[in-house]
Symmetry: C2
Subunit: 557 residues, 2 copies
């Protein structure tokens, strides 16, 4: 085939497995140009009410998925993306994937999901537990209490708390609630690693999920004594059901099998990269893997990741993992459990109809309309301060029983003013995280935003003013898939490291939001008010939120 | 004229002077039946931007009225009400009036308003200062500081604070800002007394406004030394410009003059009662003048009045006056500066369009719709608590710089839940007032509601549950005018006291809202949360509201 110029065109495929669908992206290895894409919706979506196979009702807080839906992404979205790109599939040199996490499933020794065996297809615990499966809270509480009692050295690496979302707690739930499934599984794997296994026939747990979600620290999982103390039946869990063959991010896990080549239409034998997590894979796509560069994936919630060259404990962080973002640095993670979700909640529940009409006639979204109105006046003119805890607090305080506050309303307070106060509250929440990292010795000198909220320019300027650091934005609407493509390029040998691949293929917008000194000064004062309320309501000054939540749950039976 | 039965029909007229209009009501002396009514809108309304006579701009916070507008009510609304009633004017035996307060004006010795003289018609200070004229705050601050320094015995009678709305502060503003007007006025009178003067030719200041608004306590106004210390030019203010000829409520001030008979079409010589205030005159109309019966006039704001047989000081009350509600008892007053206004603010600014559509299709008001939805779930199911300070705090804390709070929101919180939390916050604010009275030795055993909000049955039941006392409601949409008619009947000699006239002519609805024990228990817990926040934000635990207000005012220049 004739090439349009004398450069040899080579491509990689990045595949981003989300909550409801998977997206494949075809990317030029040389400069990261995105040349084609396609999406495949999971036929079973999220099973949170009934198990599709049996129709049986699921308990509250459950969220399951079907592994065959993930294979569907390989079979449908990948070839569709290649067709969309109009490229020769033979020019594809590698493929990499990223996944939601922690999203684990029980499998047999050959990788067959237990739910695909006739004996277990009607057993809910045989299916994939999606990240937002929240039914292992009791197990998480037990893990945390025991780890604190025993002074387990790994607990501070997770800010002092193991989440019920993580695979370790979810495995214990399987043992407690369905011991037969627990006994039958040879391996408890993250979907992030299972999909790689499907592509290359090799089971190579990735450093990122092993570290952040499976409590793998310093070459060790929690030990057998700890496991036995949790539950006698859990003794040996990590030795038997997990693997120590950890793959570094960007390394090849293996080569594309004939079967997977048939599914995808890609050449057999091309490089398949070690798996990864959607947030973490985004860092090189945003050219932000150096210490001091914090990446914030801002959507319904925000995930913050930052590299640092030393290992320290940051109170209330989500986790720190050696090589958790790129190999050779310690990757730190934190999060805010409600960001875009809070803005959407406000718009859906608290904005009168005439605002929608005004937005429509101005040809802007309701969010942009409220932003324009809200930011038309000086800092503090609204007289408000809010706490961004409508979905609890994930980092620093790590407390899901906290709730929201809006304070300072008068009879003259308008919705755009409260909307702005909510935007500000999320910026203050981020500053609290950044300051907590800095106080622990992990400085943040630049803030790089990926995710849907980067489109709101006033919000980006707000974050620059509140954080007093420059705010840059990724120049891709498909940050995770682009990040996976970067990892694929490294696994294929086109670059010698994720860092250098990211510099070549990652993309940023040219606009950088610089802090405005006088607005930053004014926000300092509002932030001081936020901190006072944060500590009063979040650190035991007044546990009204916990009491109101308990009463709410009691009242609703 | 033939009577329909052998009872001699006799009528009285009650006239209620409001903020924008005056209403006349014709009432049967025997049983309080309301037989006719009419309203007259003030042609000049409220002058808060320009002085009508000159077109001159008024400073911020000013609110003036034109006395001739009040005469218009006598000339138009009274005869129209008599026509509406279809009665013989000769059967009317008395007339009484009630007014907004404090609404003072400067007049000459013969009662001529200074603004009606050619020299002063262009001088803003020559006009009526409406109750909501808020430009005398500096003078009020000076009065309070000096009274505290000197330990003036009357200050505790007003909960420790003289309001900028009151005639004493407004008089000092006249002296400071227009000494010529101050020098030219022979008398500084409440409109409540001026209108009586217009009817009967006698100037008889009523005990209610003298006590609550002119600092008349124990037969004395503030003394000349205090006045001189305020401002040398103010020395002798009360001795010269006020009167000590105080009229008891329900007593006749005089008899209808020929001129006033011509204006009103009523018989010359009938009894004209001493003036009164709109809130206070309502107590006998609601048959609630005994100690332990608190009357709450619930509208945009709430005014609470209650009689007691002893004089005590209640922290943060608006005032206590001997004979301030009925002669022979001490009348206590308190208030909440935002009630219906808060509900209206919420509906206008925070409720999505589909709620209005649902309300319209259900054929109920948006307020009733939100109430129905909000109260469909058990106490505390919303998980919220609010502070009702969107218009400051008038009683107990007496602080206009306080602002609102809503706490406990999650992403599942709906507008009807916040609406209910706001209704609850006003009930908690009332309970705080009731408990403060009780702690000072003034018990409240029954709560009787007048005003527009009594139509909301869920709100009434809520107050019964939160206060743990029976809640009754007045059976008249014109409580103040009916109250004035009762005073007219007493002044005319048809009854020997306001108390007995109230028992005969006052009216209550048959439904009485009794506390529900289990809901009351649940509300106790929510009220405890309200009190924690009330004290934390209201008593110096965290002055964030004051700081946010200062910043807001600074930001808005």
């Amino acid at each position: 085939m004739a090439e349009p110029n004398d450069r040899v065109l080579r491509y990689v495929i990045g595949v981003d497995f989300g909550t409801l669908s998977g997206r494949a992206l075809v990317v030029d290895v040389a400069d990261g140009t995105e040349v084609g894409t396609a999406v495949y919706e999971y036929p079973h979506g999220v099973m949170d009410r009934r198990l599709a196979a049996s129709g049986a009702e699921l308990p509250p807080e459950w969220a399951l998925q079907v592994p065959e839906d993930y294979r569907g992404v390989l079979k449908h979205a990948v070839p569709a993306a290649v067709r969309d790109a109009g490229i020769d599939p033979g020019a594809v040199i590698g493929i990499a994937t990223d996944f939601t996490a922690s999203t684990p499933l029980p499998v047999l020794r050959d990788g067959t999901p237990l739910c695909e065996t006739p004996e277990f297809r009607d057993r809910p615990h045989a299916y994939v537990k999606l990240w937002k499966h929240h039914a292992a809270q009791k197990q998480a509480d037990r893990i945390n209490a025991l780890a604190r009692d025993r002074g387990e050295s790994w607990l501070p690496r997770y800010g002092g708390f193991i989440s019920s979302e993580w695979q370790y707690a979810k495995a214990l739930q399987v043992l407690v609630e369905d011991p037969e499934v627990y006994a039958a599984m040879d391996c408890w794997t993250e979907a992030a690693d299972w999909i790689v296994w499907q592509l290359c026939g090799e089971y190579v747990p990735n450093a990122c999920t092993a570290g952040y979600k499976a409590i793998y620290q310093g070459g060790e999982y929690p030990n057998a004594q700890f496991e036995a103390a949790l539950d006698p039946g859990f003794e040996g869990f990590s030795a038997v059901k997990l693997s120590r063959r950890i793959g570094k991010l960007g390394a090849p896990a293996g080569r594309l099998t004939r079967t997977a080549a048939e599914w995808t239409g890609l050449p057999e034998g091309i490089a398949v990269a070690v798996g990864n997590v959607d947030a973490h894979v985004t860092a090189p796509a945003a050219r932000a893997v150096e210490p001091g560069q914090m990446v914030a994936i801002m959507g319904t919630s925000t995930c913050h990741i930052v590299n640092h060259d030393a290992l320290v404990n940051v109170p209330g962080m989500c986790g720190v993992v050696d090589g958790g973002i790129i190999d050779g640095l310690y990757g730190y993670e934190a999060g805010q459990s409600g960001v875009g979700d809070i803005f959407a909640w406000y718009v859906e529940n608290h904005v009168p109809g005439q605002y929608s009409a005004e937005a429509a006639s101005a040809g802007v979204s309701i969010h942009q309309h409220l932003t324009n109105l809200g930011f038309a006046e000086p800092v503090g003119a609204h007289g408000l301060v809010a706490l961004d805890w409508m979905n609890g607090n994930r980092s620093v305080l790590v407390d899901t029983s906290l709730s929201g506050v809006i304070l300072g309303q008068t009879l003259a307070t308008r919705p755009e003013q409260e909307y702005r106060a909510l935007l500000e509250s999320t910026a203050f929440g981020t500053r609290k995280i950044v300051e907590t990292f800095a106080a622990a010795g992990v400085p943040v000198e630049e803030f790089v935003v990926a995710g849907g909220l980067l489109k709101n320019e006033a919000l980006m300027q707000l974050y620059a003013n509140v954080l007093r650091v420059p705010v840059a934005t990724i120049a891709s609407a498909q940050g995770p898939a682009l990040g996976s493509a970067i990892h694929a390029a490294v696994a294929a040998g086109a670059y010698d490291s994720v860092r250098s691949a990211g510099m070549a293929m990652g993309k940023r917008n040219s606009v950088v939001y610089q802090p405005n000194a006088s607005e930053a000064d004014a926000y300092d004062d509002l932030y001081a008010e936020y901190v006072l309320l944060h500590d009063y309501f979040g650190r035991g000054g007044n546990d009204v939120m916990k009491r109101l939540k308990a009463r709410r749950e009691e009242a609703l039976g």
